[in-house]
Symmetry: C2
Subunit: 441 residues, 2 copies
């Protein structure tokens, strides 16, 4: 039974770590965050293993497991986190995650008597090379932002932008696991079929409408047995944590292929996620009521709960930035394209999980769910170039004399995410970055 | 470079095995077939391992690997086949598969001097309990039968049944790996949202339009690096073999959810495949020109090759059978619902692989591609109840006083597949069976 997210000592904004850099104002990874990643030292032949971010450092969980500091469920969690993927830790379930978080917090706190034994388990974050946090068995992408669905729908169906099912069903589709990469991923501009406007015969070539989509990724923790739906009350106990996700999209390929069975080659050439997975516990101070306007239908019972109505949303600030090859050449910083919050999402995390399993579909530890493009209510808060450039009709200035409708070769796209509010420690997601290489000949 | 499928000694219809049951006329698994599965003795605590069907027996590849009979590439193939999943064998690639097939054939041939050493490696097929042949990383389902696409399209868009992209693009979408099971799978009737005719508010309950889809499954062999498309000429070298596949479908759930992003909960509750994977080599005698009518557009260059035009299709006979709980109670045999052939498929295996990777998407060993429902040109050759019952309007008699529009609880659906023609040994796929249990309360 999930209760309203509980605030406890691990959320105390006054808490300080003996890792000094974790106490810096405005930092991403204070002691109240403690997100997980899989890493090794760049250029080393070391085994990948789990780590927990703390300030400018990573607590190496393989070293921590050997330190003898942890006991009970926390020791189980730390040992599982020491493996080259976090699937085992994810599968251990919410009680173990909570015990692990609590023990990490206590041992990293100023004054902890274990400081000497853990000091040697720290790795500089600058030295880290990341892998995907988990082996991703299945990847599902949702469409949870009503503002995105409406904006895209308006381009295709000006008279009825939002389809009749949208307010009843958290629309989702299956994505491709094999092409998911961790931040730093580069990919060649995809080639494929598209139908040039006003023609009847498709052409084959590099996509001319390459885009990003600003999303959150949801890592499934403990799975459910096939045939056994996850009710709303338990749904968040099946979520290990959240990351940033860029669902790269080739709009021209997608437009020609997607009827009647949905997106395929327009999506599956690359998907990039951030290395750090922020736990729902760390996000507890930032829960908000979801953004379902008065007058909209009540969610059907299997998608509804009093708790969800009160606190199903989370206010996670999201930003998309771009830096072109020319900008890098001129040493110009990235340009911010847009800024929004996950609080605007029409569907909540719990609703995505409950819907996904209502038919008995089994989720497995390490499965990834995308939230779909997160766009806010105003045009400037849109989470894709398709929306920001009004379908490619309104170029955006990203630097002096440099404009974009869609992505150019050499462009890097970066997302950032964080939570902040008075009376709570700032919780950062770090960043996810990916870059477009020219199409192969 | 794939050449036209080569016939060699392993296809000689006169060849006989020292395993007598392999020589029975009309059998599924003669020495010319040699399909792969993963199995153990039912009720045993044995490890799962690969096996090759020969008559009424299975050559246990773990035992065969220890026999010392095999050498070189064949020994590598047999050793890889001895593992609990066939992914490693699949990844070894076509030259190893060919050497393995050749060596298995020679050693199982009448008069082989290794008979005494391999005799002890045989397990009765009746004793076998099967697992999925491979760990399936990603599952893609295509829509390759134009007859199915037209029939289904006609129900939704009587005036334009076939969408404009159909003859240009092998339409496909991503499916769910987690809910794929091996023959014998049972599943509870899925619950979910649907929109009853003439209403505006969806209801939630057990699907009332549960259906099967008669498909072939394609196991990917050696994968391709991300960013590197597989050209038509190499495409079949990336296919390890074929199985039977039942893409169970909840039509009412699918109809309400599928716009705009495609099928999701209407499909991902269960997918069932046959245990035996028949190699493309075994199917070489049954190659045919694909069924693209004169006057249709030529496939775009990346989907075209002289070889594909001549022999891209395969004449694989496919049948769907049903047996209700009442029929089982009366000891009545299953009723045949329909019969067709994969030769009617609009798109070929090579085209599915070339299209899937044209954008740089990477396939991995053990990935599964479904062909989509295989329906032939006449209504009686349809591969789903949706088509056979004309959208649920025309009940089908399956036994005296027993009719079906869609599946009832307790129904078992069985597919069979085989190739046969004069001058060639009969190549069987065995069967895939699955059964519907009542919805959970």
């Amino acid at each position: 039974m999930t209760l309203a997210p509980q605030l406890d000592a691990t959320h105390d904004p006054q808490a300080r770590s003996w890792v000094d850099s974790a106490n810096r104002a405005g930092g991403e990874f204070p002691i109240q965050n403690l997100p997980f990643a899989v890493f090794r030292r760049a250029g080393s032949g070391e085994a990948f293993r789990g780590g927990v971010a703390i300030g400018d450092h990573i607590l190496d969980l393989a070293a921590a497991a050997d330190s003898g500091v942890f006991e009970g469920d926390a020791a189980r969690g730390i040992r599982a986190g020491a493996l080259p993927s976090l699937n085992t830790l994810m599968q251990l379930g919410a009680p173990v995650w909570r015990a692990t978080r609590r023990a990490l917090f206590e041992n990293l706190l100023v004054g902890s008597p274990t400081r000497d034994r853990l000091q040697g388990c720290l790795v500089d974050r600058d030295e880290a090379h990341y892998e995907l946090p988990a082996h991703i068995g299945d990847y599902t992408d949702f469409y949870a932002s009503i503002h995105h669905a409406t904006a895209v729908g308006r381009m295709m169906r000006p008279d009825s932008p939002l389809l009749a099912n949208y307010k009843w069903i958290p629309i989702g589709y299956h994505g491709r696991s094999s092409s998911i990469g961790v931040s730093g991923q580069t990919f060649c501009r995809p080639r494929g079929q598209s139908l040039p406007l006003g023609t009847a015969m498709p052409k084959v070539g590099p996509s001319l409408r390459l885009d990003y989509e600003l999303e959150l990724g949801i890592f499934v923790g403990a799975g459910n047995p096939r045939g056994t739906p996850i009710p709303m009350a338990d749904a968040e106990d099946h979520i290990f944590g959240l990351c940033l996700l860029n669902d790269w999209s080739a709009r021209d390929i997608q437009a020609w292929e997607y009827q009647p069975l949905g997106p395929f080659l327009g999506k599956n050439f690359a998907t990039t996620i951030s290395p750090w997975v922020v736990t729902l516990e760390a996000l507890a101070p930032f829960r908000v009521a979801p953004a379902r306007p008065d007058g909209d239908p009540e969610p059907l019972p299997y998608l509804n709960s009093p708790w969800n109505r009160d606190a199903g949303g989370i206010d996670i600030r999201l930003e998309a930035w771009i830096q072109s090859e020319a900008m890098r050449g001129r040493n110009e910083p990235p340009h911010r394209l847009s800024s929004t919050s996950f609080k605007h999402s029409y569907w909540t995390l719990a609703q995505l999980v409950a819907h996904h399993t209502v038919n008995g579909c089994d989720l497995r530890a390490g499965d990834l769910l995308g939230t779909g493009t997160q766009s806010g209510p105003t045009p400037a808060e849109a989470g894709s170039l398709l929306e920001l450039s009004a379908g490619g009709t309104r170029p955006i200035e990203i630097a002096p004399e440099e404009h974009r409708t869609f992505l150019q070769d050499g462009d890097s796209v970066m997302f950032r995410g964080w939570c902040e509010k008075p009376g709570a420690a700032r919780i950062g997601f770090g960043e996810v970055i990916g870059s477009v290489l020219p199409a192969r000949m």
